[in-house]
Amino acid sequence: MIEITAQKKYGERVVLDVEKLRFVEGEVYAIIGTNGSGKSTLLEAIAGTLKVKGSVRGVEGKDVAYMPQKSYAFSMSVLSNVTAPCPLFRLPAERAKAKRLLKQMGLHHLARKNASRLSGGETQRVALARMLVAPHDYLILDEPSASMDVESTLISEEVLKDYLERTGCALIFATHSMAQARRLSDKVVFLDGGKVIEMGYTDEVLDNPKDDRTKAFLDNFAR
């Protein structure tokens, strides 16, 4: 279990202020909120890629993998991009695994293409495949399908679910799609002004928000 207490300020503006926020292994969390509510900052704080005031407990010895909003495709073949995180000595076996993964995601035809020439959506799909080639304890994805079309989003979600089932990995992801939150997550965290306003089971929070701010946010969404 990860427990995070963190504060982050840029100048006078507080962008993140959470206390004893807990994420349990094997569960799927969707982080929702408006732009600038602190979603990305929270994810980066958990992943350890951003320095914050406070502490993140329970990550020692755990494999935490993080995918930023804007993923970078390395200037090499798509296949090599997917196997980039793998240790060299395991490369042949991992390549076979990566090929299967690309096929599952419908990217098979791009395997030999240089990844730096891909479109935004393709880049994001390759980046997701790259996250799924190795086993992790926590997967942290920042708006993983923001650049994808509907079909790619659905395919990617299936592959992701399959991965989570097989490995028992926990997932924490930020999204602007309530439908995606419903499809993927067990629990939802609603952030506003860097603070956790509401947290609970996905259906409960989305259908019966307790806080007015959550309600307002969801109403805005429904309109």
Binding site: E44, A47, T49, D63, V64, A65, Y66, M67, P68, K70, S71, Y72, F74, S75, M76, A84, P85, P87, N114, S116, R117, A127, R130, M131, I140
Partner: protein, 221 residues
């Protein structure tokens, strides 16, 4: 003037190439390592380090020559190595001169690339060698240009190598020190001819690098 028939000229060209290639490649190894570490990591005092690196890029060759000379001359702290007036010591002086240039140029040219890559690379939790390999792979065009500049500096250098190498015939005489000598002896025609050979070598190295860049580009498509 045909190089193949003149053992003195052969020796000068050989010494020049040995010195220029060895020193530029060593400077590339050290400089890229330093430049990458500075570009990739954010640490307190980074700006100071960058300013120091960029200042060292302007190290005057004769100053480096004199300092290396003092350190390695008979009475100096490294005098026992007996390296004075050798090609090896010329390479040492060149590496001291060129490493900061490579490091500074690497830092400057790779920083924008590294900034774009950093979140992804950090998020993947990669090993240090793997990170280095990935950043180098992204910056390979820039690094070829950096190497060409390092080589150009190495092959065109006079001040430092004249002091530590001594311009000894058939031992440490290079094309540039030979050109300087030929000016002093009034053999201007020979000096110009040597200059043309020097340019031809530089052209050759640039052509190879250009082909390499083209090859890389092709592989990218």
């Amino acid at each position: 003037m045909v190089i193949g028939q003149d053992p003195m000229l052969q020796n000068i060209v050989k010494t020049t190439l040995e010195m220029a290639f060895t020193s530029s490649i060593l400077a590339l190894l050290f400089g890229v390592l330093i430049g990458l570490v500075v570009a990739y990591n954010n640490f307190p005092g980074k700006k100071v380090v960058v300013v120091i690196l960029r200042t060292l890029m302007g190290l005057p060759p004769v100053v480096v020559g004199i300092v290396v000379f003092i350190l390695f001359s008979g009475t100096g702290p490294f005098g026992h190595l007996k390296l004075i007036y050798s090609v090896e010591l010329m390479i040492v002086a060149q590496v001291v001169l060129i490493t900061p240039i490579v490091a500074g140029m690497t830092e400057t040219s790779l920083t924008p690339i590294v900034d774009r890559m950093r979140p992804t690379v950090k998020g993947l939790g990669l090993s240090v060698p793997k990170k280095f390999f990935l950043v180098l792979n992204e910056g390979k065009y820039q690094l070829i240009a950096v190497y060409l500049f390092a080589f150009a500096r190495a092959i065109s250098e006079v001040g430092a190598i004249q002091i530590v190498g001594g311009n000894i015939l058939n031992k440490t005489r290079t094309m540039t020190t030979a050109i300087a000598l030929n000016y002093n002896t009034g053999d201007f025609a020979l000096a110009v001819a040597l200059g043309i050979i020097l340019l031809a070598i530089a052209l050759g190295v640039n052509l190879v690098a250009g082909l390499l860049q083209m090859g890389l580009k092709k592989r990218n498509d």
